[in-house]
Symmetry: none
Subunit: 143 residues, 4 copies
């Protein structure tokens, strides 16, 4: 049995959308990946642009790639751009190193997967991801 | 407004899973693409293997690529393998030409998107896709 | 904690090499992937050719991609070549669909990872993989 | 016979892990490449994130690519970013130009291979690589 079930992933997505509605955010796309970086569920709201699934995936995958949320990658992209560029080369260009990719952990610290959100500002995207993870009583790591 | 809304896509996925449960199928992955070939929603059931999202996407994308369901592509792969290979070259390898990629049309014949299902036999995958499309009163084209 | 630990992976590799020595096989390369398809450990024996790590990886990854050992993919490559070709397109060419990629399951059927072996005949490669999995009391699925 | 044997590579990895335990480092991934840049052995400790094998490989490969350790590449990335970017273009994005990729030489100066370590800070990664190379009485070149 996969640790992050489809049922949990769908609850995370619903709660992220509820938070987005509450904050009046632009149309979002949310993806939930398992601990191996493989998508469990994805939803793109009406009006969310066409590359959003790949962007959301790239945030969540970036968090899993280095073992912490993409806020860490965003900071490194400013202080050590050659590292983040090379990391993305090693990842085949699959990483989007800006906030909004949040690691999902169990209470004992095991990595269960990651949530990626895109569509509004990076800070707002991250807020929606956090609300999703909080709704299922799991632990978020923003980086 | 996109013609195939997130709400409709999620209903298609739920109905496909209900049909799968009724038929006792293996764990499935279902993706719904809009008419531009971009994912609206995706769900991978617990136990569905890690490449399934790409396979489901490749079926749905194949249907949109040629304007009919992947049953047609499967037949062509047997009679004209060079055509299907070349088609996939043009598509960057993104097409999976076996049954289970079903075009979604409105009652007046307009293409709204496509559903891709994978996890059981190709015929059973297609049956689940059909049940999903039927549940939202849209028209299915299996090819 | 990852389900297939480094310690377990190293025992699998050692046991596979012991079996190979017993059978007098050519120099092998063995890789052990976790359930997300990410390498836990890899070893290439002296004299095993330079592309062997990628071949071993491609066998193990193929098993995880479809949820069963690569003997199944090998059979499909003969009966439905267009399916296996398309699958590899969806996988970015990462799959090597011949025997020697064996799924590793827990006694209750959960997928823990996969072992890929290459260097001798595909049947002998598979025999070495099986010996490795047996040595750690896990369940093998050859496809 | 390859100059850097599997037995030597495995000793390097074990010694690097011992040093990491002694220093209390985060979970590491260590790869040893031969003089042709092809992996001899790799091990990812439990809890080391999913892209670490590629990162470790990218450090070791970078050292072999230019004939000195990646500390030199890291310095160049700051003073001549266009050079390191172009180098990585020529390498297909396979190089990770930060410390932790250490060239392995024989006492007479011949290049035998390279070690790549990732998981903690770049300086600590390099310290683990050095301990590994020292354990087999070979000569390290950090760049």
């Amino acid at each position: 049995m996969r640790k992050l079930s489809l049922s949990t992933a769908q609850k995370i997505i619903s709660a992220a959308f509820e938070k987005a509605a509450e904050l009046g955010l632009k149309p979002l796309t949310v993806v939930v990946l398992d601990d191996g970086g493989h998508a469990v569920s994805m939803a793109r709201q009406d009006g969310s642009s066409i590359l959003r699934p790949q962007i959301a995936n790239g945030k969540a995958y970036g968090a899993l790639a280095v073992g912490t949320g993409t806020r860490w990658l965003n900071a490194n992209a400013e202080t050590r751009p050659h590292f983040v560029q090379a990391l993305n080369g090693a990842a085949g260009g699959a990483i989007v190193p800006v906030p909004g990719g949040v690691l999902v952990k169990s209470p004992d610290g095991a990595v269960l997967g990651a949530v990626g959100v895109t569509g509004d500002t990076s800070d707002n995207d991250e807020a929606a991801a956090l609300a999703g993870i909080e709704a299922v009583q799991l632990v978020a790591d923003c980086g």
